[in-house]
């Protein structure tokens, strides 16, 4: 479990978990080899001992979605969708899978899980959830959360989220995550008991740090800049793509009108009639083909959306670094000023303005004993401060090291995934072109028989 001792801020430390092993999705290729990779534990952490559990593969799937009604916190009736999560363990020898766990969760519980992970793994680029509300819709798509197509795409997105977490070398070993998959009742209470909400950095603090930090690691600054740009460009892309889909839909559908008019026209023709009629049929086929084409393209849009939201996760890691760095800078500044005060007291020179200096002037010099006492206090504080600074420094360096390792892992993943997405998009376009050629060739043949 990745954490550094930080004084009294963290009261509870989640128990070391039972490792889940290399998760293997039924739908995606195993990425288990990543578990061998950067599995940097923090200082003071016991290295996980390998045991037989690592060798068990598991499959996770969000297999169903169901509409439910229940009572919310204010005892009002509400409708929501629940998702069935099934976990299977795959026997190593014969590849057969056995259902080990199955439970229902709703979207808000996924959110809770993710928020917990964000707090406890601030150096990890935490996989994003699918969007809460439908955005970037083109006119045919419904923006309604209850719409079956939206629910279906969300189901896939939630499954993807779980698979991402399960295939992450560090996140997969979290106990809360494990319980999310296995313990239906009481899970919410368990999460809340970790007190993670209290540990979350306040947004105000984070914003303040972002503005005032003096020496953040340059790589993080660049990364933050990159994630801002990435977010902007993918949003733009998704918006235009939705408009493109809209227009393409229009083009195809209008061709359907040819079907009707050709049919009507063929009724008054003698020799031309058959050719016209059958060509009209092909125009109908053409017009209706767009629905499937655009449905497939939504999958591509969803892949882009995931990385749009990943940009936010990247930024969160950068913010954390800035916060820690700012904290460090403040502590160093504080220490420096205390040292200076001490020095001034020892030598008697007053170089900086201080309340003591003022009161001394007003009320007279203090006694040597008083001065000694004060120096002592300061020296103690300075000692403590130096210890804290040392540990903060260490903490900061550890954070940077671990975060950067995960960022590198993320970069590889991103490049791989997006390339795959582009390839599948190109394949979709090729298929669409081939269908178009087919239909128009058929129509041309009908016309030739006119």
């Amino acid at each position: 479990m990745e954490q550094a001792p930080r004084g009294s801020e963290r009261q509870l430390q989640p128990a070391p978990l039972e490792p889940l092993g290399h998760p293997d999705s039924g739908l995606q290729a195993a990425v288990g080899e990543e578990a061998e990779g950067a599995r940097d534990e923090g200082p003071g952490e016991d290295t996980m001992t390998e045991n037989n559990f690592w060798l068990k593969k598991i499959e996770i799937s969000v297999s169903e979605a169901e509409k439910r009604t229940g009572r919310n916190a204010m005892n009002m009736q509400e409708t929501y969708t629940a998702y069935l999560i099934e976990t299977r363990s795959v026997e190593h020898t014969d590849g057969q899978s056995v259902l080990t766990d199955s439970l229902w969760r709703r979207y808000s519980e996924f959110e809770l899980l993710r928020n917990y992970l964000l707090v406890y793994y601030p150096h990890i680029v935490v996989p994003p959830l699918p969007e809460k509300r439908a955005e970037f819709v083109w006119h045919k798509l419904s923006a309604d959360n209850m719409d079956p197509d939206f629910v279906e795409r969300r189901r896939i997105g939630l499954e993807n989220f779980l698979l991402r977490v399960a295939s992450h070398p560090i996140l997969c070993r979290d106990k809360i995550f494990y319980l999310f998959l296995t313990q239906e009742g009481n899970w919410k209470e368990t999460v809340n008991e970790t007190g993670f909400q209290l540990k979350a950095d306040s947004r105000l603090k984070a914003l303040n740090a972002t503005f005032r930090v003096k020496n953040p690691d340059k790589r993080f600054t660049e990364l933050k800049h990159y994630s801002d740009e990435l977010q902007s460009v993918i949003s733009h892309l998704l918006r235009v793509r939705a408009r493109v889909a809209d227009r393409l839909y229009g083009v195809y559908k209008v061709h359907g009108n040819y079907g009707r008019v050709f049919s009507e026209w063929s009724a008054i023709e003698k020799e031309m009639g058959d050719g016209l009629q059958s060509a009209g049929h092909h125009m109908d086929v053409y017009a209706s083909s767009i629905d499937d084409i655009l449905e497939d393209e939504e999958h591509y849009a969803d892949q882009l959306k995931e990385y749009l939201f990943y940009a936010e996760a990247l930024r969160a890691v950068c913010r954390k670094h800035e916060l820690m760095q700012y904290d460090l800078e403040m502590a160093a500044q504080d220490l420096a000023s205390k040292k200076q005060q001490c020095e001034e007291l020892a030598t008697g020179t007053v170089r900086t303005f201080s309340l003591k200096g003022m009161t001394t002037k007003l009320f007279g010099q203090e006694t040597p004993e008083q001065r000694e006492a004060r120096i002592k206090v300061l020296e103690e504080q300075i000692n403590e401060g130096e210890q804290q600074l040392k540990s903060k420094n260490l903490e900061g360096r550890e954070f940077v090291k671990n975060a950067w390792a995960d960022i590198e892992r993320f970069k590889e993943q991103k490049n791989h995934d997006l390339k795959e997405a582009l390839i599948s998009y190109a394949v979709m376009q090729i298929s669409m072109c081939k269908k178009g050629i087919q239909v128009w060739t058929n129509a041309k043949e009908c016309f030739s028989k006119m």
């Binding site: 490049n415 190109a426 090729i430 081939k434």
Partner: protein, 437 residues
């Protein structure tokens, strides 16, 4: 190629009136068949038409060798239509080489008309003249006047209503050129119209303006007579075939109108799609600038979308320039055909009315007044001409539409093939470094 009249044309030299059977005696002139059958009374009209009106300003004379306007023999000639298209072609007309002329008063475009012919009606084997749209318009009016019993092909629209279209843009001029070329070719292919003197003058005269000034003088007898058919007679019963063609043309024009609207709508949607694509492609470029390993793939996708955009633009241009004008032409065609049909109705109505008046008079039965005879001649001539033209029109229409629609399908196929090639070519680029990893 023979320099004489088209093959199969029965001798149409001058005949004495005595040789011709009485119009009201027995045989219906419409059924006159065979090249050697006794020439029908229509010939009376035809010959006077031929004698008077084929005096060509450039000096040629028709002599007695051919008076092509024998309408009854048109029925014979119909069977030999295929021959005309095949080896016996003796008249070729082409419209090309548009040029802009800038004068003080106006700017306009002229087109070069090249004529090659072995017909005796032409002094020289080859002619090359320059004509502007006005001249075509004049020609068409003249043809309508002088050959009212025939279907005259339509001209492209005079004015472009869409407002923003540039009369002198390359696309517009080219579209118009094609339509004018089609117009002349249709006349060329017509066994009667192609021998019309106005057409001849149009193709050959150095100074068309002088000829135009002669105006009304050369109106044909038939033209005159049909022109003066009084309206207001009620038609008793329309012959089945003309009734059918009338209904057909109504529906036909409607359907074409619908297709025109659909085609316009499609082009509009495609253009809007194009606008979005032109924004879409470059976003991938912008993204590519942020990335390292993904830079090339993203740039590749951007270029690919750019290629598809270009292909789409070509498609919309083609449809606008080649597809829509031909549709519009046929709508104009069926409009002008409707008015010819109406004229025919009037001619028939007048004849029937006059005939009835005679029948009611109960005078000396056998003698039929000359003007009733003339009416009948007129009607039968009209019917024969029209029927022949309608059949020809149906054949041409079928061919034209087959070509038009196949062309539309072709353009779409080419568009998709261009896009397919673009996307297929970047697959290796996208997959490239995957292996290298």
């Amino acid at each position: 190629m023979s320099g004489g009249p088209p093959k199969g044309l029965p001798s149409t030299g001058p005949h004495s009136l005595l040789d011709m059977p009485h119009p009201l005696a027995g045989s219906s002139s419409e059924e006159a068949v065979g090249g050697d059958s006794t020439p029908s009374p229509d010939l009376l009209m035809a010959r006077s038409f031929g004698d008077k009106d084929l005096i060509l300003p450039n000096g040629g004379t028709p002599a007695g060798t051919s008076s092509p306007a024998s309408s009854s023999s048109l029925l014979n000639r119909l069977q030999l239509d295929d021959d005309i298209d095949g080896e016996t072609r003796d008249l070729f007309v082409t419209v090309d080489d548009p040029k802009k002329h800038v004068c003080t008063m106006e700017t306009y475009i002229t087109y070069r008309i090249t004529t090659k012919s072995t017909r005796v009606e032409f002094d020289l084997p080859e002619y090359s003249v320059r004509r502007r749209y006005q001249d075509f318009d004049w020609l068409r009016n003249k043809l309508e006047e002088s050959q009212p019993t025939h279907l005259i092909p339509p001209l492209p629209e005079k004015f472009v209503v869409k407002g923003v279209v540039d009369r002198f843009s390359e696309e517009f001029v080219e579209t118009r050129r094609k339509a004018l070329d089609k117009f002349l070719k249709r006349i060329t292919d017509h066994p009667v119209l192609s021998f019309n003197e106005h057409f001849n003058v149009f193709l050959t005269a150095k100074d068309l303006t002088a000829y135009k000034k002669q105006g009304m003088a050369l109106l044909t007898r038939v033209g005159e007579s049909v022109k003066h058919v009084t309206g207001g007679y009620k038609l008793r019963s329309r012959p089945l075939e003309f009734a059918a063609i009338g209904d057909y043309l109504d529906t036909f024009a409607l359907k074409l109108g619908t297709i025109d609207r659909i085609a316009q709508r499609i082009i509009k949607e495609e253009i809007e799609y194009l606008v979005e694509l032109r924004e879409y492609g470059p976003v991938y470029s912008t993204w590519s600038a942020l990335e390292g390993e993904l830079a090339e793939p993203l740039e590749g996708v951007s270029a690919c979308i750019g290629n598809c955009s270009t292909a789409l633009e070509e498609l919309t241009d083609d449809m606008t320039e080649d597809f829509l004008p031909v549709l519009r032409e046929y709508i104009l065609y069926s409009d002008s055909m409707k008015s010819v049909l109406k004229k025919r109705d009037q001619v028939q109505a007048e004849y029937e009315a006059k005939l009835e008046a005679v029948a009611l008079r109960k005078e000396d039965r056998p003698k039929v007044p000359a003007d009733v005879e003339r009416c009948q001649d007129r009607m039968e001539c009209f019917n024969a001409d029209l029927k022949a033209d309608l059949e020809r029109w149906q054949g041409n229409k079928r061919q034209d539409f087959r070509q038009l629609l196949m062309g539309m399908a072709d353009k779409n196929i080419q568009y998709y093939e261009k896009c397919l090639m673009a996307w297929e070519s970047i697959i290796p680029l996208l997959q490239e470094k995957q292996e290298a990893k």
